[in-house]
Symmetry: C2
Amino acid sequence: MARPRTPLLNRERIVAAALRLIDEEGLAALSTRRLAAELSVSGPSLYNHFATKDEILDAVVDTVIGEVDLSMFGADGPPWPQALRDWARSYRAALAAHPNIVPVLAQGPGRRPNALRLADAVFGHLVDAGWPRGQATRIGALMRYFVTGSALASFAAGFPADAGVYDAADYPHLGEAHRLAGHGGRVDEGAFETGLEALLDGLALRFERLVARP
Amino acid sequence: MARPRTPLLNRERIVAAALRLIDEEGLAALSTRRLAAELSVSGPSLYNHFATKDEILDAVVDTVIGEVDLSMFGADGPPWPQALRDWARSYRAALAAHPNIVPVLAQGPGRRPNALRLADAVFGHLVDAGWPRGQATRIGALMRYFVTGSALASFAAGFPADAGVYDAADYPHLGEAHRLAGHGGRVDEGAFETGLEALLDGLALRFERLVARP
DNA sequence: ACCTGAACACCGTTCAAGT
DNA sequence: ACCTGAACACCGTTCAAGT
């Protein structure tokens, strides 16, 4: 077969297969040959739809970012602390569903439309709420730090379940660390919520000081 | 030449060359062949010192983690908020000096001794300071989220310097975003400090409540 | 326009051969 | 013990050839 009457591939199908491969086997498993095989075509076929493998990755990343809810930044949304809370939860949920792609996505928006829309919505909402532009930029940055960091990898799963690793002579306080991996999601969920609320409290404190002496 | 009288390679030299390569050209530039060439040996020579490329990467990561100052968690260190502040700054500085390796390092301590020592020191200090063990775990996790997220990539550099990217119709609030990349370090530094202080304020609030009703 | 196989310069790793 | 070249099964990408 050379050219089929209806195309075998399109960008959407390629992106979906790439994301599935990354989710199930990691970023390193995404090769153009492997991806093509999943789609039952030969490797070079992909180059009819994307110029490079990096462009495929870019499209995957923007698809994931597109899942983040931004509706709380609309005109009749909640006050900024609640909007930030709702957004951070949705942001983390979208990223944590695809942890293997977070290192790519954390490089910043680049020219990806969904990522730029997200940055625009957060910054705009904070400025409209009364934050000075410089502060609004910093809040956008520090929220991304926290959310990407929390989605990049599970804290709990980073500790081997093998109790033999934690020699009491070397690590006197890690005697229970081998049980962390078992608690998995709950530890990370709790840490994210604690950190988010602490951040919001700290920011609210700064906002009060800002309004008190403008 | 087959076996030289004094070995051409050792683990230290390999790790140093690997880190230099990663810093200067990114994680993708680290191939065993390329690394071997930097050390003026043939590719397979590396396998006399490490079993796999992943083991080399592990050693690189633990070297970087080893640069983090943990002295503030000693017996006569400062109270926990100041210790956490000093540690977070040193942690970020060590990681931000090698951003390309952060995605690897963020996977958790695994069996790497310096990473386990770090986790042990933070957790032990918080528990000794009076935090319940569950809370201390969460604080260790959320601090890692924030620090790795802030070291993974520059927020400012993620926005293209090309003003043409930010079409006012699509992104009404990003009119000045093209200037971010120029401000580079200062934006990220400010965001990190703001986030760190906000987090510490929020945690202090929680600690007060904890002590008030034990 | 959209697919193919062949080809190029790369990978990580194994292994027999050298000293 | 520690290095080498050859070899294997992989990579991303280009390109001429097919319909």
